[in-house]
Structure formats: C-alpha cells, structure tokens
C-alpha cells in the first residue's frame, strides 16, 4: 500500500510491453515495418483510403497477425494476474494455474465440447453456441481448483505439500480425461486437442480477442478491489478476519474471478504453463510483494512476456512454429526448480511442508 514509486516500475513495464507488441506484430513469415502497421491500422479503421497494392499484406496483418498478437498479450495478462491471485489465495509463491489444476480442468471441459459437442451427450450445451467451450472450461477449471483448495486447506491454513499432491492428482485425472477424449476423437478433433494441450496462438481470431478481452477486463477490475484483502491474507485467514475482511467470501470471489479468466483464455488458446509462476516471481524480486503493485504489474509483465515467447515460437523453427506451451515449460520449469532450490537453501522450505 505504501507507494514508494511504483509509477516508475509501471512505466518501465508499459514500455517493455509496447516494444514487445510492436516486435511481435512486425516479425514473422510476413514482416511489417512499424509505419506500415500504422497505415494498415488507419486503413482498417477507415481513416485512410485502402491502398489496393497492399490488399494481401493488409489482410494478413489485420485478420491474422493483429488478433494473434492481441490474444497472446491478453492471455499473458490473464496468466500473470492469475498466478498473482492464486499465490495470494494459497499464500504461497509457488502456485499457478497449471499446478493447481485450473488449466487442466479447463482443458478437460473444453475437450468435452470439442469431441462430444456434436453428440447427444452434450446436447444441453448446444443453446450456448460459441459460449459452450468457455462455459464448460469454466466448470472444469472451477471444479478442479476448488477440489485442490479444499483438500489442501484446513483450519484456515494451506498445506503446500498437500496442495502440490492434490494438484498432481487432479491434473492426472483431468489429463486422463482429456487423453481419453483425444483417443476416442475422430482424427481432426484429436489433432486439435493435442495442439491445444500444448498451447497455441495459430487459431487466434477477433472472436478470441473479444472473449478473452472482455473476461480479462471484468475479472481484472474485480480483482483490483481485493488488493488490501490479498495483503491481509498473507497474515493468515484469522488475522485477515480481525482486520475486518471476510476471508471465506474474499477467497470464493477471487477463486471465481481467477478461474473465469483462466478458463476462457485456456478455452481459446490451450494450456500454457509456468507464465503464472514466473511473472509474479520476477515482480516480487524486482519491487515488492504488495498486491496493490503485483496485480496491475503482473498484467503488464505477463502480456509482455507472452509476446516475447510468441516471437521466439515463430522464429526459432521458421517457417514452422513451435507450440507456445513447449517454450514456456522449457523456460519456466527450470525457473520453478531454481525457486525451490533457492528457498530450500534460505530455509524457506518450511512453507512447502
């Protein structure tokens, strides 16, 4: 709460994000110079007459590149904020949606619709139309997260050892469910599930931008109201209650907001692990564990980091591209192990027992 110049850090993060966005929008099979991108944007908005010689470039930029960049940035913001919120809820620095079952639950829910959506078993989802995937993803994510939270918390305290084991169990069950669905799926569906389990922005479109964008803004604004409560929860649920908060209500609401945005993002782009872990961790080291700082800052850094990863995914094996989740796991997992090792050396290991 004490604002010792967070503004400077926000500014630096915002500049990083803008640079990452411009780079990500410009680099790829088609490359675009910044001036050309600005012109396309103005043409797309109807403020400039369209240049007929550039029809292909413009439509690649406006229909493929731009939605992809925005979906990536929004997903990064969602995962960054989600990691921050979950670490606050579980009062531990090593929690993120991939570990606590949230992503796997969302994946299972979404895979159900992919494979069985046209059959009679899921006939009830048909009136939902294109909302069916995010809706079932939310149901799966919320159920999975709630199980992990309930199992790992007792008497107002979260046992992180139990949390991780419960996360493993729930992830395994959801993974088995998703695996079973891809096994019984007809070929194109199965291929979809596999790609999507690794996380990918290749299918990003303006519909995805709208879905993720709206849920992110709503959930982010909601989460901003709980900055003080998240800080107070660091002291434990009783201490938070004694400071005038209602921990069970705060936890349930944050769990819903968090699950909602993770589910929608996962439904659109698949499972992307470790971003939610790494982003808040960097910010804690950089500045502070004050949630009044972490919540907004993790949105900015999450978005910027996802853009950087996406550029890498596109150029590293060009002209092909790697699924995003592979890169985040390859980079994120060692960082996760490093955090564990370092904390063990510093004697912080008690938080994991």
């Amino acid at each position: 709460m004490t604002r010792r110049g967070y503004a400077g850090t926000y500014l630096a993060l915002a500049l990083l994000l803008i640079a990452a966005l411009v780079a990500s929008a410009g680099i790829g099979a088609f490359s675009f110079a910044p001036a050309r991108m600005v012109r396309f944007l103005l043409e797309g908005a109807g403020w400039l007459p369209p240049n007929e010689a550039e029809t292909l470039g413009r439509s690649v930029f406006l229909q493929l590149r731009l939605p992809r960049v925005l979906v990536g940035a929004l997903t990064g913001a969602v995962l960054g904020v989600s990691g921050t919120l979950m670490q606050g809820l579980f009062r531990n620095p090593i929690v993120e949606p991939g570990l606590a079952g949230t992503s796997a639950g969302a994946a299972l829910g979404a895979a159900l619709v992919f494979v069985l959506g046209s059959g009679s078993a899921l006939a009830f989802t048909r009136p939902l139309g294109s909302f069916a995937v995010p809706a079932l993803a939310f149901a799966g994510a919320f159920g999975a997260t709630l199980i992990v939270y309930r199992v790992s918390s007792s008497f107002g305290k979260v046992n992180v050892f139990t949390l991780l084991l419960a996360g493993i169990a729930v992830n395994a069950v959801c993974g088995a469910g998703t695996g079973f669905l891809s096994y019984i799926a007809r070929d194109p569906q199965a291929r979809n599930i596999i790609f999507w389990n690794l996380g990918t922005f290749t299918t990003a479109d303006w519909r995805g931008v709208a879905f993720i964008g709206v849920t992110f803004v709503v959930c982010f604004l909601g989460a901003l109201r709980y900055q003080k409560a998240l800080n107070a929860l660091m002291l434990g649920e009783d201490a938070a209650a004694l400071l005038g908060f209602e921990p069970s209500r705060v936890i349930l609401r944050l769990l819903v907001l968090n699950t909602l945005m993770v589910a929608v993002a996962t439904a659109m782009v698949g499972v992307i692990a470790f971003v939610g872990l790494v982003v808040p961790h960097i910010l804690r080291m950089l500045r502070s564990s004050d949630y009044a700082f972490l919540v907004p800052a993790s949105a900015l850094l999450g978005a910027a980091m996802m853009e950087i990863v996406d550029v890498v995914a596109r150029v590293i094996v060009a002209p092909a591209e790697l699924p995003i989740g592979i890169i985040t796991a390859v980079v994120g997992a060692p960082i996760f192990l490093w955090i564990l090792l370092r904390d063990q050396r510093q004697g912080n290991a008690r938080f994991y027992g």
């Binding site: 003080k228 800080n231 660091m234 201490a239 004694l242 005038g244």
Partner: protein, 266 residues
C-alpha cells in the same frame, strides 16, 4: 468493557466452554490463565468475534458484538497472536500499514502513514521500516506484529470520550517463542497502553510473568471459571495445584517482598 454472558461452546461433541460469564474491565491488565485445553483460546476467539458461541452473548461496552460489522469492529478491536510467518518478503512498513486497513479505502491518508510510523517507533523498530519482514528475527517479527496491532487501534488526539474511543486489545500467548528480553519488552509496551478506555485481555502461559504484569486474573479449568480475582495472592495454592496438576511453592524475594512460584510435578 468486554462482557461474556453465559457463554457456552461445543466442538465435535465435546463441551469446550460451559456457561462462562466474565467481565474484562478497562484500565487494567486482564490475564487469562489455565492449563492446555482449558478453553482459553476458544474463549478469546469468542470474545474477539472470530467464533460464535453456541449460546450466550458477548458485549463490548454494553453493545452486542453481533451488532458490529466486521470493519467497524476492526477499528477498535485488535488481536496479537503467536508468531506470524509470512511467505512473502513484504517490507516491515507495509506489514504495519495493514493495521490501518480498516481505516482507509484504497490509499492510506497522511494520518494513517503517521500512525503506522509512530506505532513502529513505539516498539523500537523504526529503523527497520524498509527491511523485508521474513529477514527479521522471531522477536523482531513479533514486535512488528505488535506495531501493526497498535496501529489498528491507535487513538488520535481529536477523539473525545464517545463510545467510539473504546479500544479492545487481545493477546493470545504473545510471548511464546520469545526470549526473556523480548517477552518483557512486548509486555511492557502493552502495559503502557492501559487506560480507562482500553480493555486488555491476555492469555499468558508463564504464571510468574502473568502475576508480574497482570492485575486481574481469570483461571479457566475444563471450560469453567476456577478462579477470578485481582491479586495472585488471593489465588489458593490448592486450586492452582489442582488445575495445573503440579506442586506449587511461593518464594519471596527478600529485597522487594514480591512472591514468585516454584513448580514441581506431583
């Protein structure tokens, strides 16, 4: 004044508190004593509003505890518990500022900042203001928690003698795990808060420390009040021995005339 009227509490089929009526008055150091499992912590949880009694009522200055909303209550009632661990490296100043959370919206006022600063100075930790909390020693951490609790119920000069100027401070074994220096330091700071509008209730395990600082005693045994009185001298030795299942022998310091207890197993 904090008043418990015919309070009972049950958990898992066992009676933890049975029909306990007790008054904690302001202007003195109320101490809650009793062996493990006597119901002290439960009584404190009920008195602070963390737990609801199965029957009976809690009143703060003649107002039912139920009629307070959580935030309103948090402005006048604070609790210092045993050692609080934090998994995150928050600066000390931010931890103390949490005590002001019930008093401001999104951003602390200059008054809140000033109170947090004064609270930290009161516990002698002003120079550690920017240090990450987890890097402090256990004793220092407890002093920071005390500062947070003091900041929560800090009295500003403008306040008159309205009902809102009443303060309630509860301490649940605040000195467990502290060495003797920090024990005395913490309890001395708390003692200095005693005034006509501040009700202080502490659970203390060390009987000699309790008798040294307390000036009103409530001894709980098996969910009932076994003794209540203003002076340790009034506490019959046989009650003390029976409740704690020990032999107790008073020893008088010839230079001061004060009595201490020496305990042994029966």
């Amino acid at each position: 004044m904090v008043e418990l009227h015919r309070v009972s509490y049950r958990a898992g089929g066992a009676t933890i508190l049975s029909d306990v009526s007790v008054r904690f008055r302001p202007g003195r150091f109320n101490v809650l004593l009793g062996p493990n499992g006597a119901g002290k912590s439960t009584l404190l949880r009920i008195a602070t509003g963390l737990a609801q009694p199965a029957s009976g009522e809690v009143r703060y200055a003649d107002r039912s505890l139920r009629s307070f909303d959580a935030q309103e209550l948090a402005r006048s009632r604070a609790v210092l518990t045993q050692h609080v661990e934090m998994a995150f490296p928050l600066p000390v100043a931010d931890v103390v500022m949490m005590g002001r959370y019930p008093h401001f919206g999104r951003v602390p006022s200059s008054t809140d900042r000033e109170i947090a600063r004064q609270a930290l100075t009161t516990v002698g930790m002003a120079e550690k203001s920017d240090q990450p909390y987890p890097t402090l020693s256990g004793g220092e951490q407890q002093k920071v928690q005390l500062a947070r609790v003091l900041a929560q119920i800090w009295k500003t000069d403008g306040e008159g003698t309205s009902t809102s100027s009443h303060r309630y401070l509860f301490l649940d074994e605040p000195t467990t795990n502290l060495d003797v220096h920090y024990q005395l330091h913490v309890l001395n700071i708390v003692s200095r808060l005693i005034d006509a509008e501040t009700t202080i209730v502490a659970i203390l395990h060390d009987l000699n420390t309790a008798f040294q600082f307390g000036d009103h005693f409530l001894l709980l045994h098996q969910g009932r009040v076994a003794f209540e009185g203003d002076s340790a001298a009034d506490l019959p030795i046989d009650v003390l021995e029976r409740v704690f299942d020990v032999r107790a022998r008073p020893i008088t310091d010839p230079s001061t005339g004060e009595s201490y207890w020496r305990f042994g197993l029966t």
